[in-house]
Point group: C2
Amino acid sequence: MGSGAIGSYYGGKLAAIGHDVHFLMRADLETVRDQGLTLRSTESPTIHLPIVQAYGSTNEIGPVDIVLIALKTTSNSALETLIPPLLHAGTTLVTLQNGLGNEAFLAERFGAERIMGALCFVCLNRVAPGVIEHYGLGAISIGEFKGPSQERTHAFAAALRESGIEANVVDDLMTERWRKLVWNIPFNGLSIAAGGIDTAQILADPGLEQLVRGLMRETLAIAAATGHPIPDSFADFQIERTYPMGPYKPSSLLDYVAGRPVEVESIWGESYRQGVAAGIDVGRLEALYFLVKKLTAVRLVESRCSN
Amino acid sequence: MGSGAIGSYYGGKLAAIGHDVHFLMRADLETVRDQGLTLRSTESPTIHLPIVQAYGSTNEIGPVDIVLIALKTTSNSALETLIPPLLHAGTTLVTLQNGLGNEAFLAERFGAERIMGALCFVCLNRVAPGVIEHYGLGAISIGEFKGPSQERTHAFAAALRESGIEANVVDDLMTERWRKLVWNIPFNGLSIAAGGIDTAQILADPGLEQLVRGLMRETLAIAAATGHPIPDSFADFQIERTYPMGPYKPSSLLDYVAGRPVEVESIWGESYRQGVAAGIDVGRLEALYFLVKKLTAVRLVESRCSN
């Protein structure tokens, strides 16, 4: 569901080795029906799927075993009507979406026992309708929303591995999400709030570098308070690994600059609310959340007006 | 010293009633020597001073009794060489500058006993070289840097009152500065960091309104910790009095948009450092300070490049 770069890539890889994959598409539907799906990569041969099971609605697809959810979290409300036609008693929902709150959103509506989540570490871009360019990485971490991994968790990871994707199973999905947020909260946020700058420009400014560390400390405090302790040294590790990335533009900045919706709530909003609920004074996160929320809302209006 | 709108207005009013006022000027020097100084007002008759004692250096002026300092705080380092030629044993230095740290800066270099400070509540604009437009208000609060008011404090206030300015003496100048910062820190800062918006737009956004309150709480906490307690209710009062101001653009935003230096250190930097020194976790202020610092630095470069 949601066949942008992420959905088309992972779905396409599974279809390429013979799995029965159905794609829910919107913008690219006609093109993909006509011309199929193309996965290009700087690391492996191009995959072209000439015939793709592509649909414009989930009613046409009907009940399935696994739903891979790759919609942007800003469209989560659409899931309430999109998902029901796909369900049978044993359907598993796997969210590949960013940030916090997506598993909980699905669990509340469709039952916690159905829900798995995955974190994607991959550089992808949809360069044209039905054409996905893969620039590097591709690993995926899969876990259950509630409790440790199960047979189905390992089965799904094995299917992905068979298709050539580096897939690993994690026993504490939420801690993995927090680990990713330790990076996303400061870098995605400051890249927007400090005027549209990349990670190298953030780290080159002593004030912003200090603010990155402060935001990481607050994120680690919320993670710990909600039962997902991560060692403090992880902040240093996340900063150190950012230097070699050079002038990297976080995905939220690319969305912001292009006038696309930014996943404000699943990255900053939900973390902030969990921090407040835990009684922690997360002042830096509060400032960043409300500033990014305002800046992205204004930008979206501007962008719409110029279309 | 520093004959922009503030310096020209207060200096001009004193000169108009016969005080021996010498103006240090830069950009407007030739025009004022040729055409004099004009103070226009929506509230009182125009004052035109055809002959003005205007100078390009403080060496030409020589020792004086009172130095009125109206330079932008971003030029404070220039004071180290500008002030010494003006000093005799009894010279008083009065800073009309914004924010924190200006009295301390002068005290360190020229002796604390010389220093007075003043807060100006006035709407002025330099509309052309040598022409100042007064839009309203004009009150000035004067106090000693160290200790309560003295005879000289009252004498200076009396001279200003005689010239038609509403001048009052305060016994705790630093508390007055903190009271002003309770407004300036959130509103001037968020007007820049939230994308160039006015006070009405800030208050219309629930997240930013909450952030205003959080920043005010942090400011009050620093003020209290540094010996200048202000009742918590002052925050509500400052917010309530902002609504009737309508779509007001804080002076820092006007400077930012015009590509002029913004007084980052005297508004956010010095407050932040005093908060850190007092051991308070001022996360919202830290975020705002470092973001505004970066945004204004970038803006200044852009603005210079386009000249």
